[in-house]
Symmetry: D2
Subunit: 344 residues, 4 copies
Amino acid sequence: MVKVGIVGGTGYTGVELLRLLAQHPQAQVAVITSRSEAGLRVDEMYPNLRGHYPDLCFSVPDVATLGACDVVFFATPHGVAHALANELLAAGTKVIDLSADFRLQDAEEWGKWYGQPHGAPDLLPEAVYGLPEVNREAIKQARLIAVPGCYPTAAQLGFIPLLEAGLADTSRLIADCKSGVSGAGRGASVGSLFSEAGESMKAYGVKGHRHLPEICQGLRRAAGSEVGLTFVPHLTPMIRGIHATLYATVADRSVDLQALFEQRYASEPFVDVMPAGSHPETRSVRGANVCRIAVHRPQDGDLVVVLSVIDNLVKGASGQAVQNMNILFGLDERLGLAHAAMLP
Amino acid sequence: MVKVGIVGGTGYTGVELLRLLAQHPQAQVAVITSRSEAGLRVDEMYPNLRGHYPDLCFSVPDVATLGACDVVFFATPHGVAHALANELLAAGTKVIDLSADFRLQDAEEWGKWYGQPHGAPDLLPEAVYGLPEVNREAIKQARLIAVPGCYPTAAQLGFIPLLEAGLADTSRLIADCKSGVSGAGRGASVGSLFSEAGESMKAYGVKGHRHLPEICQGLRRAAGSEVGLTFVPHLTPMIRGIHATLYATVADRSVDLQALFEQRYASEPFVDVMPAGSHPETRSVRGANVCRIAVHRPQDGDLVVVLSVIDNLVKGASGQAVQNMNILFGLDERLGLAHAAMLP
Amino acid sequence: MVKVGIVGGTGYTGVELLRLLAQHPQAQVAVITSRSEAGLRVDEMYPNLRGHYPDLCFSVPDVATLGACDVVFFATPHGVAHALANELLAAGTKVIDLSADFRLQDAEEWGKWYGQPHGAPDLLPEAVYGLPEVNREAIKQARLIAVPGCYPTAAQLGFIPLLEAGLADTSRLIADCKSGVSGAGRGASVGSLFSEAGESMKAYGVKGHRHLPEICQGLRRAAGSEVGLTFVPHLTPMIRGIHATLYATVADRSVDLQALFEQRYASEPFVDVMPAGSHPETRSVRGANVCRIAVHRPQDGDLVVVLSVIDNLVKGASGQAVQNMNILFGLDERLGLAHAAMLP
Amino acid sequence: MVKVGIVGGTGYTGVELLRLLAQHPQAQVAVITSRSEAGLRVDEMYPNLRGHYPDLCFSVPDVATLGACDVVFFATPHGVAHALANELLAAGTKVIDLSADFRLQDAEEWGKWYGQPHGAPDLLPEAVYGLPEVNREAIKQARLIAVPGCYPTAAQLGFIPLLEAGLADTSRLIADCKSGVSGAGRGASVGSLFSEAGESMKAYGVKGHRHLPEICQGLRRAAGSEVGLTFVPHLTPMIRGIHATLYATVADRSVDLQALFEQRYASEPFVDVMPAGSHPETRSVRGANVCRIAVHRPQDGDLVVVLSVIDNLVKGASGQAVQNMNILFGLDERLGLAHAAMLP
């Protein structure tokens, strides 16, 4: 039984961790922290959990208590994991960070995008980027795992087969991504109000979004070279889901893209390459730790279109975090994550 | 291992049965029928099920095949179970009917509301109304179970404590109920289009709705007398969920309603009486087989307001059907139904 | 040409005033205030207004400037109009207050519900409750108009024909009301987030809501006696719209309710009594200054059900405010309000 | 006063024509046809129109009656205008076709995409493509106008400034477009159900969509050369709105794109070039005949991103049709179209 701590459990990735871990046969949540809600029972804040955590209350973060856990998840804004990771690792506790703190390997670049100096640059060399489809072996040995962002998960899983095979023109990649509103978190902001985000669609961050350097870092690794990426995120009037529509120039029209994708992910439990001609819907992964992908070559031209969908809170955050935990602790990778998506 | 057949699996209650049974450790779906989709793999129609039923295809309904199952669920329009139930029961197969065919005990009343003669009145004496919170013992012995409708489940569970205790004026009960659009099924109809049902609310069937006699039948049983009920259903722009707002006159202001409700459901695994002052949200039961209830007495007057929420496809249909199956086959009642609701 | 000032124009009732007044041939917005956004062009905040108010900027509220207007609308939280009304009236400016400040005629009751002392009790005797269907003559002479709340508008227009005719049992009225999320305003609050309010329904304020005394005050006036009202508001996943489902006991079954309603509103430009058997949808009034009503007597019982729908931002706020302005200034009551609702 | 006929008025473009023409001071709807609903009053089908067309009923299409109109709008599926246009033109009636019948100038290409032979190829030479921003002079002289499709309007208005200026690499244009569900029409189809299209996003028609040749035809005209376009439409869970995200390679980084766009549309009443750095929202044009555009050059690279939003039922259909009518009859182009969009 893995003893689990969660730092910052009041947001959507926190409650989603609780939902997934409630049905995990080999993990037990021992502590969950929140400064603002300390003392409150988790099911008073999240009534969907009533009956599942009858005694669990939010507590003030405390290194001694957290350090007694086998693993601590950070479901926090950026900066928090920087401050606590070293102490927890020293206590022998594994750290799985759902925030952006250890995703970028270059501390300076991190500082540029997040507007503050990196708080734990000494840990970067050992931080493992927790995309199991790329880094499974490293995850097994890790002490500190950076769970990928939601857009980066959808975009990388869609581009990787083309890049690893050296097929795409890496100088002109495009990721036109659409996200549900829960991606903006549970903080009170006017832009995320029902009456603002409902019945409307818009792009945002076209000038530059924090997930851009993270996606580029992953694509560089896959391509073995620099990449040029245009990333346009959009806010979509739905709660959960990311739909990445990816464009890459693949001049060689003789390659069997369907076979390439199927082979790349043949042994992956959580990547589903759909039949040729498919259009995956985000609802087909709602609540499930799955990325569904379809690859198209419209009008048999040289521009390939990859459609990649995930649930931003599951494969894009908390589910992927649990998947990392399973790998890290030598458990069956599917434990607690085997349920089907909810449709409709 | 319970061998399961499903008749009419292409609708929302069908896919929800498949989703729930996919994670049920003691049940296996052996056959699922659909005349219109015979030959199609279920996960071609419902991609959320990819990986869960790799070999399961819709087949033409056939009594021999269905009769080889331990239990057959009917997820069909009314009339279908009438035609097949007798043969299946004769084959020793249990029948759990999610349609309205055996919900009303009076064949004539059934005919009046459904516009056609009852097709199997001989079976009515043994049909058990599958509301476990009322009929658990009878369910254990049943061959034929009528799973309650969605509105009737929410309304009965909310009213029953008051009626069984003889507290309410039974002549003037009101059920103002709000349903998500999935309650209207997966049939193509203009009224259920996104552009028609979205961003709008309306009442419907104020003159008379088919669930009215079913609710009244259940309330009569609880009250031990005739009841006068006004039932106003509303279509709400959400996919899943029923919110029943129930009004009853309870002249005796000395009774502790909170305690009454808590005691009535103390041992029920799937009814959650929330703390005093609560306002249950339908999302707190999304995807879960739970009914959450709160009871209020506004301004300390004699009108009591009960708020009762369910997921119409789970506790209001397929989840309750699985709960009945568990009881019927002597399994732990929570098997396959223990997961938390999905929020947000 | 009526010279218009708006205090507190950044919220939803403010932008809706601007939308409606942009097409009003006899009104011109001269000044709009907002402390927090002073200096910002209104169409920078509300791009739907681009091209309509090319030079209009938010300014700091200033009595001299506002006092130079013919009329000032308050689209503010409660308390603000209390502070400014006296000075504006002294300057000869009419005041149309969309907030709750002058809706209740009893200052003490106001203080109880709003948690602070009434700030201008001296003005209460002359404040006119701006429901034109009841108070048109008084509105014509008014200096200070309190625009009714959204729930109160829908509920009163639905109940009034029964009460004025002395038909209903006034001791047991029920208003089960469903509101879109814009009713909660544009303030950043967790409960109004898309991911919180979407795909879910809940009741709120069952214990007591600020609109309860306002509705009761209006119903008392119509009935000529005390009334007992149970009011249960619900949050519905749509942006605009209120659906009031009203229940009243009308023992006399011989009365022609349809005729009663049609006659009561025969000369009202903005109340539409729909044909017998109708179920008005909130979308049928989206963006329009209309209240549509249908009256039912289910199962020919003694409980009458009235369905009343409005757009909470139009007939429930800004449209009704403009209607009041038209009456007050002797204009055609329909000016600027004659457009059809937007469907779908 | 322009005497208007509408053929096929029961769909969304039909009701939107009625909404817009109700507030048009120089047009009067004399006849509206529908075979299936003949005899029904239009406001029985569309209660938002109650009070606006008290006497207007759907009638069986009849050339004599339609031929007595000054102009006939076709709001029909493809093929219908083919059959009737010749007779109406012979009667001296102008034809404004909202369907696809006369959008493609090549009858053979039309036949390929629409799966049937073109029904009136003789009329193609005189059919004018009704995009006023390109064809205003031709529209003034036209007898037969083909109103552009919704996607083509948004895409062309966004690309045209770049193409007319010869700045873009025309061989690799991308239009990633997101549409609300009303674009699929009011026909009963499973894919457009609230429970299917809600809370989800998907691409569709990646292999080839009927609007592709129409967009290409318009872009060729603007560029004066062949174009290579990849067009990926997506279904978005909102009722109205199209968001086109357009990608074009513009190697010359010295050009002032903002100025280019502003100059191109300086005198256009219905194209709004937003300030640099803007992200237009579809709700900012809801109900209004406006296309709002922003142009970006992310990371100062050679890939330009244009964001273009319209209401698919207004500037993408019925509003643009009225705009064409105004031009055709020498009226002020803004008549009936000057109202602001509705937000929220």
